[in-house]
């Protein structure tokens, strides 16, 4: 059984797809190196990430399949689900055969799965655009910790770069230890220690207090329906919501 081992980056995965076509050697599975438990009979090919090859696959997907296809593939990659690589590879194989029509084959398991997972990621991204809460720190930095299911920090960054373009901000995925940092000009992805402590600015508590007060009084008595509330805003997201924290 042939295994392709890559470095876990999106570019690396696209390079692996390139190699699979170039070598005409079907991988049984594509796995990131930190996840490979190598079995006895495994034959391994180590993929060296190559920006040029990755770029060619990227463009080919966009042009020969569709812009939607490349977006879906990227979202599925960010989902970090088990065996995402193989799912992506199978979808791309179908895509190169069927062209842009591939996404009409909704009864096909691979196509269905790709769309389902990428929709889930898209939905969480959209949800996070609303649920991210910045705290103002001393030194005029707005800091937002998050713990999303999927690895979506880079997906939400452009939105905030446009919207909050005149303030310094940080969105910190505390589970993955990664963060996007924005300095009023551009954003970058960086590593950020999950345990780091921050000092709130002086006025921060007042606004938090007012927001909590606003939130609590916005509900209409007699219409309470916490089940619906939790359906839209699952409890796992409450940890960093100002309005859901007691003082």
């Amino acid at each position: 059984m042939l295994y392709y081992i890559y470095d876990g980056s999106f570019q690396g995965l696209l390079t692996a797809v390139y190699e699979a076509y170039y070598r005409r050697e079907e991988p049984f599975d594509i796995t990131p190196e930190n996840n490979f438990s190598g079995d006895l009979f495994a034959r391994q090919v180590h993929i060296k990430t190559d920006g040029d090859k990755a770029g060619r696959v990227f463009r080919a997907v966009k042009e020969k399949i569709s812009p939607r296809a490349i977006k879906q593939v990227y979202y599925v990659f960010l989902s970090e689900i088990m065996q995402r690589e193989t799912l992506i590879y199978c979808y791309l194989k179908k895509g190169f055969k069927l062209g842009k029509d591939v996404d009409l084959y909704l009864t096909d398991k691979t196509v269905h799965e790709i769309q389902k997972v990428s929709q889930k990621v898209g939905r969480e991204k959209h949800r996070m655009l609303g649920l991210i809460r910045f705290r103002k720190l001393v030194g005029d930095i707005y800091y937002a910790p998050i713990e999303p299911d999927y690895n979506i920090v880079t997906l939400v960054a452009p939105h905030f770069a446009r919207r909050l373009s005149d303030q310094n901000w940080v969105i910190h995925d505390t589970r993955r230890g990664s963060a996007v940092l924005y300095n009023k000009k551009e954003w970058v992805l960086a590593q950020l220690d999950p345990g780091r402590e921050f000092r709130l600015s002086e006025e921060e508590k007042d606004y938090q207090q007012m927001w909590r007060g606003y939130f609590n009084s916005a509900s209409v008595p007699g219409r309470t329906n916490t089940r619906l509330q939790r359906q839209f805003m699952p409890v796992r997201y409450w940890k960093y919501l100002i309005e859901k924290q007691e003082l």
Partner: protein, 419 residues
């Protein structure tokens, strides 16, 4: 009075306005500015009653001159009063916005001193936000009926959405419960906004640098259950507002008993099921190609509380069913109970590359629990009873009651999942 105290009073006073949508505008940020609008709108939180919080929804003032019977802020009501300053509103908006608590501001007001004075204060506030604070987030501004039309149209240059609340669906209702509100005045304000929105839109087609005017359109709100008006009357009014006045949304708000004024109906809880049915019917008008006359008529002036409006329509029109999933026109797919826009689109896409059987429908994620009584797949019918009104109704109502447990009563506000 402290800012926090004012916020408490003036947000509590505003919450009965159900609209909270932040959609429909593409306002972009500018260098050095703060804020942008998202066309599809963004919810930032959900309150304990399951409603989306998108905008900071406050009244500028609740010191009202009027005495509308159904309203907590009427002059004769014993309630704490407060009035903001434009600076306070701008400060709160900006600081909430920078922390990503909100998509923007929804500013309304009671009639403070007089109509023009109130409208001027609202105008001053939004101007301050746009010009001094360079704010490009979403603003929904209430137009005060009775204020000069010139003031209202001036405000439209700064707002993304504006609304004039009709409140009561009939003139008699207004006379009885809100004697200082006049139907002609309300409709005139709505009409002048409609005209200006149209004019600016036309001009923008020719001159790209024409400023925007209420780009997300206008909306209104109707109170349901405070007057004896029928659903037929309400849906006809909504239809006119959508068709002739080009409104983006009509909101329905179940009357919440606030006083024991003998002019008001005696009810112990708001008519939530009815409100929900009206939202569903409204959805059918806007996205499913239905007309008010198809859903309701003199024999059926009110929506069925047991069944959703699409299902009741279908049962009254069984001669049109079943439809063949592989060949039915898209607009007919949309009329099948249990099939929503998403499912209809999926069916339309998938059948392009192969004919669909019953199992295929399941695979592509179409829920068939209700739809199966109204469709065939490759000529085969999959309902477990014959196509007869009483038999199918029995099935549909049964399934509704089993799964409801109050869940059906919750689909109000901006999210009305419709199947």
């Amino acid at each position: 009075m402290e800012l926090a105290e004012k916020l408490k009073i003036l947000s509590a006073a505003a919450k009965y306005d159900v609209s909270c949508s932040s959609s429909g505008s593409r306002r972009a940020n500018v260098p050095g500015g703060v804020g942008s609008a998202a066309y599809s709108g963004i919810c930032h939180s959900w309150t304990d009653d399951g409603r989306c919080v998108s905008l900071l929804k406050i009244l500028f003032s609740n010191e009202c001159l009027y005495n509308c019977a159904y309203c907590v802020n009427r002059i004769s009501s014993d309630t704490p009063r407060a009035t903001f300053t434009p600076e306070e509103v701008a400060d709160l908006t900006i600081n909430f916005y920078r922390r990503n608590y909100i998509e923007g501001l929804f500013l309304s007001s009671a009639i403070y001193r007089n109509e023009n004075y109130t409208m001027e204060l609202l105008l001053k506030t939004v101007k301050k936000l746009r010009h001094e604070y360079n704010f490009n987030g979403y603003i929904h501004l209430k137009a005060i009926p009775g204020a000069d039309l010139a003031l209202i149209s001036e405000a439209g240059k700064y707002a993304d959405r504006m609304s004039v609340n009709i409140e009561l669906p009939s003139e008699e209702g207004l006379k009885l419960l809100a004697p200082r509100k006049k139907k002609e005045v309300i409709l005139k304000s709505i009409g002048s906004l409609t005209e200006n929105i149209k004019r600016y839109r036309e001009e923008r087609k020719v001159f790209k640098n024409t400023p925007t005017f209420v780009p997300a359109g206008q909306s209104t709100q109707l109170i349901v259950g405070a007057t004896p008006d029928s659903d037929l009357k309400i849906m006809r009014l909504s239809e006119t507002l959508y068709k002739s006045f080009d409104l983006k949304r009509v909101y329905y708000s179940a009357y919440v008993p606030v006083s024991n004024d003998p002019k008001l109906p005696r009810i112990s809880s708001p008519p939530l099921v009815r409100e929900n049915r009206l939202y569903q019917a409204d959805w059918l008008l806007r996205f499913y190609g239905f007309s008010a006359g198809e859903l309701l008529d003199k024999q059926h002036p009110n929506l069925d509380l047991e069944l959703d409006p699409k299902a009741s329509w279908a049962l009254r029109n069984l001669h049109l069913f079943p439809v063949e999933i592989n060949t039915a026109e898209y607009r007919m797919l949309l009329r099948v109970p249990g099939i929503g826009v998403t499912s209809a689109k999926r069916i339309a896409a998938a059948r392009k590359v192969g004919s669909l059987g019953y199992e295929d429908l399941k695979k592509i994620g179409v829920v068939l629990k209700r739809a199966r009584y109204f469709i065939t797949c490759r000529g085969k019918y999959f309902g477990d009873v014959n196509i007869r009104e009483d038999l199918i109704k029995n099935k549909l109502v049964g399934s509704f009651q089993r799964k409801s447990d109050g869940k059906q009563l919750t689909m109000f506000n901006d999210v009305v999942p419709y199947r």
